[in-house]
Symmetry: C2
Subunit: 462 residues, 2 copies
């Protein structure tokens, strides 16, 4: 008999009430009494568990009572209205079959575990309430992003991860090789002989799909990437990981104002989608992870985002009367403490535009003042920078000048520069760190808990 | 004035007919006559181009006639019924503005280019008809896969690419490092000192997300991955690349027969989705790339797939009367020539099951005969193996025995083995190479033309 998924049971309860069903899944908790037993049952298809009850009339009552938390079971039983408060139904078991047992040393016991402990058991933590919620939201948010862009006719591009292009500085990138480290081949001049490497060149894992994305934007007008990204940063903060996922849309015939419209519209739609599709998970996160999460997100959906220049932000910071650890400067980046203040000041997401050119990337369009670039960061309460974007320099000569000023290696990206030679156009794009979004949506405050198997300096386990 | 996308124009033609519109995009071809001009205009949002016509009354007629193929332009004009055959409408321009010009040496001229030539210009080839079709189908097929699994409540899992687990043999995997190749740090014993590497261990890019996917399947029941995958294979065939995308679903409480049901249902749904969403592209591919493509795919949607054991396939091959280059053997793998014969013999997709255990992976469930495993490959006409899957060994002791027999390093995957200790269950999964699918859907016969920027031995350009 084909088994029923718990999600189907919850979403079509009427059609199963008083019927026999077969369920397969895991015991999250097993409470035994002399003549009864109660099993908190989950198959992971729905956030809420099913209460399975059995009594001493069931075949193998004594053996069933011995089945431990964590075990896989098949339950045959009848869906009945529940006498217990807070649940509409329960399943009265007529048969419980042990599929895979579980010893007492199972780390995920029905009690509160710290997030630090669960990171050590990363392969088992998806079986907890917290990570059932976080990883379902992550999955649904990913779908929301695809849905948003595809329904608006953006092309999804798989940009390559292996690259020889040195666009962000090779110190930021992992080196990739098939060479034997213990025995690196050398040329007669004593240099590493990359001719023997699989690609006959030194190769890296890229930190961005933007360059390749731009090539596709000049053919399809509107594209997005969504894939893994890597940084070698040796930094142990709550918001940095060495492997993470990024979304990088790129839009032709779009200036920085059009870009902000898209960023805002996308974020609002993704938040709405997740609120609609993860009702149970979001209520749990609102109660147990970030009080006020639902209120925060509903407000995001319904309020226009603030747009303000970097210059004006610095004015506000300087006039705030606060004794900043980092003094706000018109030529300087915005520190974490400033981000926090500004998003609280405006009580919602804030686009900060027109940044000093020396602290931003070489491919951004320099404004007419010659001092700032058409860059925009979106800062959100609680999570800081969620998206970073810019209008790109579309003029060949100006771009080459910036490349030289910023000491970027032009040779490996000449093809990218050529996009300005063959039918160039005003265009803009942004990047959104997907884990940052998941943190914002779930209230989770550490990136290690927003990604299935986190990689951070010194940590590449599982 | 906000510009209109060509897709909107085509899909809502009635509401734009006889109206003024603004379009932004690129000139694919420019035919000039003394008092007229015709521009084949594309913004890449729709496969079909728009014919823009202008006459000598337009302001700047002489300058407009000088605008070259490849240039970016803004067109203001009126949508009118077209007198030309084969097109319902054209745009009578009242204004043409050059946004970005294009020199004569633009490689993508309005003539037939070989695919080999276009690979050398990979960053520009998306501007050709062929790659407009292939990469749109690729994008839509990716969405079809997400749509299929998400609407059936599978969890999308981002499994890590960086790994220390040596599950497929480290010769198959790229090494990843932050160490300086020219100056590899050594221990006192003269070994490479990975303590100085970012993760303090030797690290690889993984060739599969299966192991991590199984961890999530034992928590959410049904999961899928969809991400990039890497192999170091030094092989220059039409079907191998060193970087490609894979889909790897994993389903708890599902045996090999259930797995085949899912594979078949998914493929049929993805084909149907692409046929519905890429009508123009598929017609083009049917006409110019693979004659009979549409017929082939429509048949796939409507015909049950054959299911046959490896043993019976060998019988058919041996009884075929063909003088094979590789003699079919009951203990051997199936060669390309055999795949071809079998899919032609059955004239459609064929599931081949129950493979000799010695040529298959260590994690597959050994059948009761002790000789074969519960593995299944799906072979499709023209493209060969499209999916490979198996029921997994769910018994702890049997799995450990196979790990030892096959000489796999158990230490780095002990966590994976432990999944058999904590509530194990019957479960199955498969992998589908996404480029293989794109080739099957488009008729493209070389993987280098199915992926935006291909990476093959000696080739990591752009």
């Amino acid at each position: 008999m084909k088994h029923l998924e718990v999600r189907d049971l919850y979403t079509n309860l009427d059609s199963y009430m008083d019927k026999e069903v077969v369920l397969r899944g895991w015991i999250r908790n097993h409470r035994k009494q002399k003549d009864f037993g109660f099993i908190d049952f989950s198959d992971g298809t729905f956030f809420k568990k099913v209460q399975v009850v059995y009594d001493s009339n069931i075949e193998g009552f004594d053996d069933i009572q011995k089945i431990k938390t964590g075990s896989a079971i098949t339950v045959e039983g009848k869906v009945i209205p529940s006498p217990a408060q807070g649940q509409e139904f329960e399943v009265q078991a007529v048969k419980v079959v042990l599929e895979g047992d579980c010893p007492d040393d199972f780390p995920i016991q029905p009690k509160r575990h710290t997030k630090e402990f669960l990171r050590e058991e990363a392969y088992l933590r998806p079986r907890t309430n917290l990570f059932q919620a976080v990883f379902r939201v992550r999955s649904v948010a990913a779908m929301a992003i695809h849905e948003y862009f595809q329904s608006r006719n953006y092309l999804y591009v798989h940009t390559p991860l292996l690259t020889t292009a040195d666009c962000e500085g090779s110190d930021q990138m992992f080196k990739v090789t098939t060479l034997d480290f213990a025995n690196v081949p050398k040329t007669e001049e004593g240099e590493v002989d990359f001719k023997e490497d699989l690609f006959s060149k030194q190769t890296f894992i890229t930190g961005t799909g933007q360059l390749h994305g731009e090539a596709f934007a000049t053919a399809f007008s509107k594209i997005y990437t969504f894939g893994p990204t890597f940084r070698t940063e040796n930094s142990n903060t709550k918001t940095h990981a060495n492997e993470f996922w990024m979304i990088e849309p790129e839009i032709a015939f779009c200036d920085i104002n059009g870009l902000m419209d898209i960023e805002e519209d996308m974020l609002k739609n993704v938040v709405k989608y997740v609120l609609e599709h993860c009702k149970e998970e979001m209520e749990f996160l609102d109660s147990f992870v970030e009080k006020g999460l639902l209120e925060k997100l509903n407000k995001v959906v319904n309020t226009p985002f603030v747009r303000i220049t970097h210059h004006d932000v610095v004015d506000i910071l300087r006039n705030s009367g606060i004794d900043w650890e980092f003094k706000p400067g018109y030529e300087d980046d915005i520190a974490k403490e400033h981000e926090k203040f500004i998003t609280e000041h405006f009580n919602g997401p804030v686009f900060i535009t027109d940044w000093p050119k020396d602290i931003k990337a070489w491919y951004m369009k320099v404004n007419e003042d010659g001092k700032t670039v058409a860059a925009v960061d979106l800062e959100v309460p609680g999570s800081g920078e969620l998206m970073g974007g810019s209008q790109r320099e579309e003029d060949y000569d100006k771009l080459v000048k910036r490349i030289q000023e910023m000491d970027v290696d032009q040779e490996t990206i000449q093809w990218f520069v050529n996009l300005r030679k063959y039918g160039t156009c005003v265009h803009s794009g942004f990047g959104m760190g997907f884990e940052r979004l998941v943190m914002y949506l779930t209230g989770i405050d550490n990136i290690r808990d927003a990604i299935p198997f986190p990689r951070t300096p010194g940590n590449c386990n599982f």
